[in-house]
Structure formats: C-alpha cells, structure tokens
C-alpha cells in the first residue's frame, strides 16, 4: 500500500501508539465523520470510512511523524480510502433542477462569471438545508476543497498534501468551486423569488 511512503519511518511502542491515538488522532473523529458523511451522504458508509481510516492509521503509524499535522495525515488517508473503496458505491444527493448550472459548469465561463445579482440580504434568509444542498450538489472534487478550506480550515499547502495535487491546482479548484457554489446559491435566490427570472 502506498500510504505516505515518502515519509521517513518511525518505530512506536504499543504505549506510544496508544498515546498518539488518544492525544492526536481520536480528537479529530468529529471532523472526520462529518467529512466522510459529506463525501458519501450515507451514515453507515461514513462510519465504515472513518473506521477504516483509523485502522489504516494504526497499521501504518510508522509513517506518521509526531508533532506534524495529525488531522491532515488522517484526512489524507480518509480521502484515499474514499477514492479507492467508496466512491463507486456512494450515493448521489437528490438532484434539484440544476441543468442551467451544469451547463455553466461545463463552459469556459466558469472562471470568469461573476454573480452580480446575488446580494447579502438574500443570503441571510437562506436555511441550512438550502446551503447544504447547494454544497452537496457540487461535483465531489469541488465539494471537497470547500469542505477542507472553509469548514475544516486547512491551509493551501495542507490541502495540496491531502489531495495529492499542486498548490496552484488547489487554488484554481477552490476558485472554480466557489464560483459554482455562488451560482447555486443564486439559483436558490431565484427560486425563492429574490431574483427575477429572466
């Protein structure tokens, strides 16, 4: 298994392993479960994914350097497990009528478009469900960068390591993801009647 294979190895005694798990790994279970749920949209799959992540962390703990970012290390394992084992069977969220958004997503305009008719007062009336649905209907790669950055507070370099992509790609993917999310929020504002349908 190619898990953190580039990292120097460190030997842990059983007592040290327990200390690392209790002190550095288990405190992140809440974030990991929520990340797993937002990837799979299924509570049982999210539980399995988190459990598998911790078991892999135990098996490959020699690759973990104490004092480095444990949360980022665990998130990287979780993301890889999701891609390798869960992605194919994960459920898609309920589709809203987003054809307009999807065609926008497939066009080159996605980097350029700026939503001018979305306003702060419209956002204030949005419910959590509407915001969650807007996020959940993003393609998984775009959803992931928003979760990692805006919800979990990872820095660009940490995200680059978690996702195995260059920092430049992290930035451009985030930019696209945010443009798409803004567009989806605008669609909601439109369906709520805040923005006149053209």
């Amino acid at each position: 298994m190619n898990l953190m294979s580039e990292a120097p190895k460190r030997q842990y005694s059983e007592a040290e392993k327990a200390k690392v798990f209790d002190g550095e790994f288990f405190p992140h279970i809440d974030s990991m479960y929520n990340f797993a749920y937002r990837l799979t949209f299924d509570e049982d799959d999210a539980k399995d994914l988190v459990q598998e992540t911790y078991l892999k962390a135990f098996r490959f703990i020699e690759s973990f350097q104490e004092g480095t970012n444990a949360k980022a290390w665990l998130f990287r394992i979780l993301k890889n497990s999701f891609i390798n084992d869960f992605r194919k069977k994960s459920k898609e969220p309920a589709k809203v009528d987003y054809q307009e958004v999807e065609s926008y997503y497939n066009s080159d305009d996605v980097d350029k478009a700026i939503t001018t008719d979305l306003r702060i007062d419209m956002l204030k009336d949005m419910m959590g469900d509407e915001v969650s649905t807007a996020l959940n209907t993003l393609d998984v790669d775009f959803r992931t960068v928003i979760i990692l950055c805006d919800l979990e507070g990872f820095k660009y370099d940490e995200m680059a390591r978690i996702l195995d992509i260059p920092i430049g790609t992290v930035r451009s993917r985030l930019h696209r993801a945010r443009n798409l999310l803004r567009e989806k929020l605008r669609m909601y504002a439109k369906t709520m009647g805040y923005i006149k349908k053209s």
């Binding site: 059983e14 798990f21 288990f26 279970i29 809440d30 479960y33 929520n34 749920y37 509570e43 999210a46 539980k47 988190v50 459990q51 911790y54 078991l55 135990f58 098996r59 980097d111 350029k112 700026i114 979305l118 306003r119 702060i120 956002l123 204030k124 949005m126 419910m127 959590g128 915001v131 969650s132 996020l135 928003i146 950055c149 805006d150 919800l151 820095k155 660009y156 930035r171 985030l174 930019h175 945010r178 999310l181 803004r182 929020l185």
Partner: protein, 99 residues
C-alpha cells in the same frame, strides 16, 4: 427596491467611490479569496484594501464573499458522531494488537 431608495444609495453611498466598474474584477476576486483564506501577503492585503476604498464593485464583492463564507460556516449542520463509533474503532484496533 424602490426607485427613490436606489437613487439615494447612488447619491450618498456609491458616488463616493471613484470607480463603479472594475477593469480587473476577476484578478481582484482571486486576491480576495487569498485574503479571506488567510494566505495573502501584507502587500496584497494593503493593495486590495486600498483598492476597495475606491472601487464599488470590489467593495460589494468583498462583502458578498465574506457573507458566503459566514453562511457556509454557520448554516451547514454538523452531524453528531454516532455514540458507538469510537468504541467499535477501539475494539477493532485491540483485535489488530492481539493479532
């Protein structure tokens, strides 16, 4: 929005901005993201905040983008971790230790 209110905003708020259309709006949006992500340099921040003092479009974008970030942080519900999960993970790890 009532027309007289629109006119009032234009006269009293927007008119103090030198620019109402930004020729570099896309670049400004990239810089804004980096600033809100807390990944910017001091120079970028100083340049950007001086710019939004002059540019109505970018001032609006700044407020909107900040509000969206806030919306994501506050409105997306956190799911509670099932009570049994930590216990079952610890049990599985114990099994691996015995093996």
């Amino acid at each position: 929005m009532a027309k007289n209110l629109q006119n009032w905003i234009k006269k009293n708020l927007i008119s103090r901005y030198v620019m109402t259309d930004c020729p570099e709006e896309e670049r400004c949006l990239h810089v804004l993201e980096v600033i809100l992500d807390d990944e910017s340099t001091l120079d970028e921040e100083q340049e950007y905040f001086a710019h939004i003092e002059q540019c109505w479009t970018c001032y609006q974008n700044y407020n909107l983008e900040k509000a969206i970030r806030e919306l994501i942080k506050t409105k997306i519900e956190k799911k509670p971790v099932p009570d049994t999960l930590l216990k079952s993970i610890k049990l599985e790890i114990e099994k691996l230790t015995i093996e």
